[in-house]
Structure formats: structure tokens, C-alpha cells
């Protein structure tokens, strides 16, 4: 039942957007103007490449995110059974967390967390 509902919810989202878009296209007036199709700039024609360069910092943070997100994911199964595992499980996870913190400390020391 849960997965039927999951499909239903996804379909709800898709149907909602599709129907409203069709409705808007039926209701809305249409007019043609070449300036309308230009990318937004403050009143003048846009210059230079639009898909231009962006800051390298975003890439670094994305890589860091990937690392930490996957590592925190491993903590979820432990969190469910933490109580029954007791102090022994805690010590094991503390070691895991220590490695996680080492990674953060390394990135921090290397200046990856600094926005240049």
C-alpha cells in the first residue's frame, strides 16, 4: 500500500503542474515581441556568455557535501539501535565520528572552507 501511495503522490505532483500549465496556456493571451525572448538584463541587450564561469568554491563545497552526507548516512542505522547497543556501540561510533571530524579538520586546515 505504501508504494502505491508513493506512486500516487508523485503522479499528483506531475498532474498538478501539467494541468495548471495547460490551464494557464488556455487562459493567457499571447503576443509576439522579439525583445521578450531575450534573457533578462536591466534594459540593455545581454552581453558575453550566459553559461559563463562560476566560482570554484561551489565545486569544493559540493565535494565536501558528498563526503559528509554519505558518511552521516552510515550513522542512521546505528541511531536506531543505539540504545540496545549501549556504551560498546557508542565507542565504535565515536571512532567513526573521530575520522569524520579529522576529514573536516583537514578541509578546514587546507582552507577549503574559506571563500576566496
Amino acid at each position: 500500500m505504501n508504494f502505491t501511495l508513493l506512486v500516487t503522490v508523485v503522479l499528483t505532483g506531475i498532474l498538478f503542474v501539467a494541468i495548471v500549465v495547460v490551464l494557464a496556456q488556455l487562459l493567457a493571451p499571447r503576443s509576439y515581441n522579439p525583445m521578450k525572448e531575450e534573457p533578462y538584463e536591466c534594459g540593455i541587450p545581454a552581453r558575453g556568455p550566459q553559461w559563463g564561469h562560476y566560482h570554484l568554491g561551489y565545486y569544493l563545497f559540493a565535494i565536501l557535501f558528498l563526503m559528509f552526507d554519505v558518511e552521516t548516512m552510515f550513522l542512521f542505522p546505528w541511531a536506531v539501535v543505539a540504545k540496545s547497543l549501549g556504551p560498546q556501540g557508542l565507542v565504535a561510533v565515536l571512532f567513526f565520528l573521530f575520522i569524520l571530524v579529522l576529514g573536516l579538520a583537514y578541509a578546514w586546515r587546507k582552507g577549503a572552507l574559506k571563500w576566496h
Binding site: L5, V10, V20, V21, F65, V81, K83
Partner: protein
């Protein structure tokens, strides 16, 4: 407390009595579909109106007051206006991706929306890995925003989307870690189970004392950032980037982003209410039996909405009080303050749980 499963099982047996099973399930799915859309739209109307009035209140203005009494019909007028505006197709944009972006944003929003337990037994998606599912589907929204920025083929949306991507993925870590704290405390990832435990043993924020309060505060900051709001609204910093990643979206296409933004605010508030403030669990004081029976008479969904809107109000208050951060300040706040703090918080909560120091 009234259990809604009795209603749903009664309805299911009623349907299967007169028709085959597959048809009954189909009709139930249709009801769920309508329920989601109606609730979603109603909440959006309430939230947009509330935001405009509250914002006006904080800025010593009156706010919308022309359309209908106290401006209550303003939102309906806005929706009609957006519906009758042309959806502009850009010449150089990546047309397919440009049109796909709202689908991602809205589907992510619907999926997170249906994880919320509204009342006892009234939840649409109730997986045994509910909290984990919530985090994972909220990540789909980032794809939509990045697509919107990239496909627009324009400078401002590109910058806005990049900022938004960096912000959302960074603060997602803190959201995940605060969820981890709650899961540690309750020993379950199922959201209905988490709320049930809070009804039995007291709200998480009281039961988990210091680490839970810390987690709640971290959640408020990170949740605000996840909604692209408040002091963290640099993806759409209107004074620098006009409208950020949805600059090139017009009419109802823009409306979808607007809708999802407000609903994400509500989802953030509702999730805070669910995992920290007890969801549909009423407010109890140990020993005061008369008081408790009065509190238990109030239906669960009233409790839930009261708590959710309380958190939403807090988030609105934060939004209209603090000035916007710079991107480096934003990333510093997450990676150098909230992240280490959340890690310490996990260890703290693990100690509390392992040595049985919770308040019951």
C-alpha cells in the same frame, strides 16, 4: 486520542464490500490525490496571506486591505492574475529543462508534504525509514532549482542557482544531523512512531533536554536556510539578482516556485513540530489529571497545526528581523559553526541515550 485508522479501515471495508479490491484501492488513491491538492492549495493561500500581513505588521504597514474584507481575497486575485499571464518561451534557453524544473520542485514538495503525520493514524506516506525518506526526497528540490538556473541561459538565474545549490546542500547536512539526534532519542525512523513515543513519554524537546533543545535551534537555522528564506535568501537576493533562479520564469511557471517556497516553509515548520514539539500529541503536565483530560479532548490535528504554525511564525519573525548574509558568511556559519556543533550534539545525545539520562 482519536485514532484515524479506524476511519480509513472502515472506509476500505465499505468499498471492498461493493466492488473489487483494485477498484477500491484506485478510488482511495484518487481521494488521497484530491486530499493532497486541496490541503496544499489551502495551506498555500493561508500562508501567503499570513506572511504578507505579518510582514506588514513587522514593518509598521497595513498590508493587503483592498481586495475583500482585510484583503483576504488578495491571494485569490494573485492566483487569477498569474494564471492569465503568458508563459514566455525564451529563444536561447534549454526549453525542455526549463519546462521540467517546476516539476522537480513541486514533486519534491509534494513528497515531503505527504510524509507529515497530521493526526494519529492520518499520514499518507508512513515508511519505516520515514525520517530518512524525508531527507532524501527533499534533496530532489535542489535538482529543480539548479535546472531552473541552468536552463534559463541567463546570468542572474545562473548565479542564483549556484548559490542556492551550495546553500541547500550545505544546510542539508545539519538537517540530517538534527534528525539523527531525534532518531537516537526515539530509536525509530518511522515518523508516526516518533510522534507516538512523544505522546507516551513526553515531547522530545523536554525528554531530550539539552541536546534536543540544541538540535531544535540548529534545525530552525538550517530549516530557514533550506527554505531559501529570511537572512538566507541570497539565491533570490532581489537587490542584486532580481529574482534569482526564477528570474526567467513568468506567469504560472513562476507561481510554482512561489507555491513551493511557501509550502516548504510550512513543511519545515511541520517537521519541527513533528520531531521536537510532539506532533499531534497534546500538552500534558504530570500529575494534573483534570488539566490533562481537557488537553486530550482537543483533536490531534488541531494540536499539530497549532504547533506547526507556531514554528512558521517564528521563521517569519526571523525573516523580517535579520539582514541578509553574504555567501561566505553563510557557508562559514554552516561548516565552521553548525556542523561541528551538530557533531558534538550527536555524541551528547548518544551519551544521554546510552546512560539513560532522558527525562521521562
Amino acid at each position: 486520542m482519536f485514532d484515524f485508522t479506524t476511519v480509513s479501515t472502515w472506509f476500505h471495508s465499505l468499498l471492498t464490500g461493493v466492488m473489487p479490491e483494485w477498484l477500491a484501492i484506485g478510488i482511495e488513491c484518487l481521494i488521497v490525490l484530491l486530499f493532497i491538492i486541496i490541503l496544499y492549495a489551502t495551506l498555500a493561500i493561508i500562508l501567503i496571506y499570513a506572511e504578507r500581513k505579518i510582514c506588514a505588521f513587522f514593518q509598521c504597514r497595513i498590508g493587503p486591505n483592498r481586495v475583500g474584507k482585510w484583503g483576504v481575497l488578495q491571494v485569490f486575485a494573485d492566483v487569477l492574475k498569474m494564471l492569465t499571464k503568458e508563459i514566455i518561451k525564451m529563444r536561447q534557453s534549454d526549453r525542455l529543462l526549463h519546462d521540467m524544473a517546476p516539476y522537480f520542485v513541486l514533486v519534491a514538495s509534494f513528497l515531503t508534504f505527504s510524509c507529515i503525520p497530521w493526526n494519529k493514524g492520518l499520514e499518507i506516506l508512513d515508511f519505516n525509514v520515514g525520517a530518512f525518506f524525508f531527507i532524501s526526497v527533499s534533496g530532489i528540490g535542489v535538482i529543480g532549482i539548479l535546472l531552473a538556473g541552468w536552463a534559463s541561459h541567463s546570468k542572474y538565474p545562473m548565479i542564483g542557482a549556484m548559490r542556492s545549490g551550495a546553500q541547500l546542500i550545505s544546510y542539508e547536512l545539519s538537517i540530517g544531523m538534527t534528525m539523527l539526534v531525534v532518531i537516537l532519542l526515539n530509536g525509530s525512523m518511522q515518523l508516526s512512531e516518533i510522534v507516538q513515543q512523544q505522546a507516551d513519554y513526553g515531547w522530545n524537546i523536554v525528554r531530550g533536554h539539552v541536546p534536543a533543545v540544541l538540535a531544535f535551534l540548529i534545525y530552525l537555522v538550517a530549516g530557514n536556510a533550506e527554505c531559501n528564506r529570511g537572512p538566507f535568501d541570497l539565491p533570490e537576493a532581489e537587490s542584486e539578482l532580481t529574482a534569482g533562479y526564477h528570474t526567467e520564469y513568468s506567469g504560472m511557471h513562476f507561481g510554482f516556485f512561489y507555491l513551493a517556497e511557501y509550502l516548504n516553509l510550512f513543511i519545515c515548520g511541520a517537521m519541527a513540530a513533528t520531531i521536537f514539539l510532539g506532533g499531534w500529541a497534546p500538552f500534558y503536565i504530570q500529575g494534573a489529571d483534570g488539566f490533562n483530560s481537557v488537553m486530550a479532548a482537543i483533536p490531534g490535528f488541531v494540536w499539530f497545526f497549532a504547533k506547526a504554525f507556531f514554528v512558521v511564525f517564528l521563521l517569519m519573525w526571523i525573516r523580517w528581523t535579520f539582514p541578509r548574509l553574504r555567501i561566505d558568511q553563510l557557508l562559514t556559519l554552516e561548516w565552521k559553526y553548525l556542523m561541528p556543533l551538530s557533531m558534538i550534539n550527536i555524541v551528547l545525545m548518544a551519551l544521554v541515550v546510552c546512560f539513560g539520562l532522558t527525562i521521562n
